[in-house]
């Protein structure tokens, strides 16, 4: 079936797709977004039920391979110590994330110049500054301006409370003389733009029933739709087609009834994350593009970066916030910048965890062997439950071509579309960085008086940040898109998600992903008259 052509077709309604849809709406072009998922119903979010913790092991797992909702596609990540996690719905993975909101640092855009590794980005931090600010207003950010070791931000809402866990962490960091600061987060601490303030449901990651955590289904999308953007849900794109001129002509997708459709478009924008985007490009094979669309460089799918998380946690005598607060509230940039005396290049951010709920605590502690079976179970559990503090080093992953997304030769999704396959190893540099982070984390926990130290090295289900698989650059031989997101090979094809990252920095990337999407939208709007030149 053929639909009426649209001016702009966006694939994916998550963090970046929503942002660019909203920004382009003021052009009054006919904009259509297709998403394989649907609208979520907050009344059904886990924290509305007594079985709120159990759901995280099943239908609300962060892993699509465990969750297996109809909207999900399988991912073969057997050959990776870090498993891919995501969420597929309107809002994408902003429905299911911790809402931690650091920005990449200015130095992150110039790693080759500063440290002689990887590549510099073709743009710098200053180019993104106005879009960081705009995005912070749109998503609704809470935080405390003035962090001496982070880029200056102006959060429109005050920071989260320290709670019970925050002072324990702050005192430990002060004892060590190390930097810490309240995190910028997209958790609303006051009523904000129709969102109710946070009431500390505590189970933020698998979606916020209160609506205090920003996800693009409740931030960007209502504005974009009011401005005329059309959003079709439960539409899974199989491939992008091209015409005789090598331009994208539209997409083939399966609609909510499973019927194959063709949607013609003048411009196609991909916003499917660092795994979904290369998967789509590699599935879009034609005579002119035999190795996948926009892949003359051979780099589509390569240079996958995850951010290996090295986590260490322990138990203090004092009560911690446990499940009674957003999981993250503080960060540290003490070890963010390169110091070669540490034995590795680049660095890592630290995010602190406030604790865990009783089921999570019991299950994790039994698996770690610190919670016994039998009569001593009750005594030990009472010592652990509500007393956990966690320190996670979020390590900058440098791009390496052998870390990649390809198409699995066997595995397919429910529409028969080849699924992605991940091949990934932790580099020697990342390994040293993780060891350093664990050692410093142990010092922090010991300064806080914690015992029964455990580690997750790496956090196995920690592949939240999917970056680098369609990198941006000025050289078509060394990059997939140019410095404003347009594919070198296809002049009406744009990519706006984390796959265009050149390097990863050592922080959660969503703020930067969305700033990039807004920047690319702005670049497109400035060039509307000659967008395809």
């Amino acid at each position: 079936m053929k639909n009426d052509p649209v001016d702009v077709l966006i694939i994916g309604a998550g963090a970046s797709g929503a942002a660019i849809a909203w920004s382009l709406a003021d052009t009054k072009m006919h904009i259509l977004c297709l998403d394989q998922g649907g609208w979520m119903n907050p009344a059904e979010y886990p924290s509305t039920g007594r079985d709120w913790e159990a759901k995280f092991y099943g239908e609300w797992s962060s892993s699509p391979n465990v969750r297996k909702r109809p909207e999900d596609y399988p991912i073969n990540d057997d050959n990776s110590p870090i498993k891919v996690v995501n969420f597929n719905a309107v809002g994408g993975s902003t429905v299911m994330y911790t809402a931690h909101w650091p920005r990449l640092h200015p130095s992150d855009f110039k790693v080759k110049t500063l440290d002689g590794v990887a590549d510099d980005w073709p743009i710098d931090y200053d180019a993104l500054t106005p879009f960081f600010e705009e995005n912070d207003r749109m998503m609704g950010v809470s935080g405390l301006s003035g962090d001496p070791l982070s880029p200056l931000s102006h959060p429109p809402m005050p920071q989260q409370p320290l709670g019970l866990s925050g002072p324990l962490i702050g005192k430990a960091m002060n004892k060590l003389g190390w930097h810490w600061w309240p995190s910028d987060t997209t958790v609303a601490t006051t009523d904000y733009e129709g969102r109710a303030r946070c009431i500390n449901l505590g189970h933020c990651t698998p979606a916020c029933a209160q609506g205090a955590k920003a996800s693009t289904d409740i931030t960007y999308w209502p504005h974009a739709i009011r401005a005329g953007v059309e959003l079709k849900t439960h539409c899974r794109v199989r491939e992008i087609l091209t015409n005789e001129h090598g331009m994208a002509s539209g997409v083939v997708y399966y609609d909510k009834d499973g019927v194959e459709q063709f949607q013609p478009a003048e411009v196609v924008i991909i916003a499917c994350n660092g795994v979904g985007t290369p998967r789509l490009l590699l599935n879009s094979v034609s005579g002119k593009f035999p190795n996948g669309l926009a892949n003359s460089s051979g780099l589509v799918g390569k240079n996958l970066m995850f951010h290996p998380y090295a986590q260490i946690y322990g138990y203090v005598k004092e009560p911690t916030d446990s499940n009674r607060a957003p999981p993250t509230c503080l960060w540290s940039k003490e070890f963010y910048d390169t110091d070669l005396s540490r034995g590795f290049v680049r660095g890592y951010g630290i995010q602190f965890g406030r604790g865990a709920g009783p089921v999570f605590e019991a299950v994790a502690s039994e698996q770690k062997g610190i919670l016994p079976w039998g009569k001593d179970h009750h005594r030990v559990f009472r010592k652990l439950n509500g007393h956990r503090l966690a320190v996670s080093a979020i390590c900058e992953d440098l791009p390496e071509e052998h870390n990649r997304v390809t198409l699995d030769p066997v595995l397919k999704d429910s529409h028969g579309i080849p699924a992605p396959k991940i091949d990934y190893t932790i580099s020697a540099n990342s390994r040293k960085m993780m060891d350093h982070g664990l050692a410093r984390g142990r010092e922090i926990l010991e300064a806080a008086g914690a015992t029964d130290i455990c580690i997750n090295d790496p956090i196995p289900w920690g592949g939240w940040h999917l970056l680098g698989t369609a990198r941006m650059g000025t050289d078509p031989a060394r990059s997939v898109v140019n410095e404003w997101g347009r594919a070198h090979d296809v002049k009406n094809l744009f990519i706006v998600d984390g796959s265009i990252f050149v390097t990863s920095g050592g922080v959660n990337p969503t703020s930067t992903i969305q700033a990039l999407a807004l920047y690319i939208a702005d670049q497109m709007k400035q060039r509307l008259a000659n967008l395809f030149d």
Partner: protein, 149 residues
């Protein structure tokens, strides 16, 4: 094995036995064991997508025990349990998780832990703002962002 497979009577009996081994009743803490009928009923009613793996784990347990777990003497039962946990892989981990996730949402257990018997939403929780003067040393120390050039 399909998700809809139901546990057999023998599997249910072994589930009861192993659940009590994981979390026994405690008079000291005034809590039931995980073999309590209400907790067992919760497990069976909510097994859902875990049914196949739990059944697999119980089959493994039965193979190790050679007879109903409850009929083994305590020392042998403990040895079987240790072997099961050591070698049982994902299936054993799933069984243990199912036991714990049902146990730690039981009203009597939550009450004993001093936790409220409710979902987080809509009441939420109140958090102390905390002593922000703790940040003074960080502010005093200052610092500068690494230059990009």
């Amino acid at each position: 094995m399909s998700d809809s497979k139901q546990l057999t009577a023998a599997q249910r009996a072994d589930l009861r036995t192993v659940a009590a081994m994981i979390v026994p009743e405690s008079a000291e803490y005034k809590v039931p064991g995980a073999d309590d009928p209400a907790i067992q009923a919760d497990m069976l009613a909510t097994l859902g997508r875990d049914t196949a793996l739990v059944a697999q784990a119980l089959d493994h347990l039965a193979d190790l025990a050679g007879k109903p777990l409850a009929e083994l003497d305590e020392a042998r039962r403990d040895a079987v349990a240790q072997e099961f946990r050591k070698l049982g892989g994902v299936a054993a981990a799933t069984l243990v998780r199912v036991v714990l996730q049902c146990y730690y949402r039981d009203d009597r257990v939550l009450r004993s832990l001093g936790l409220e018997l409710r979902a987080p939403f809509p009441k939420g929780h109140v958090l102390p703002d905390g002593d922000w003067s703790l940040l003074d040393p960080v502010k005093a120390r200052g610092g500068t962002l690494r230059r990009a050039t």
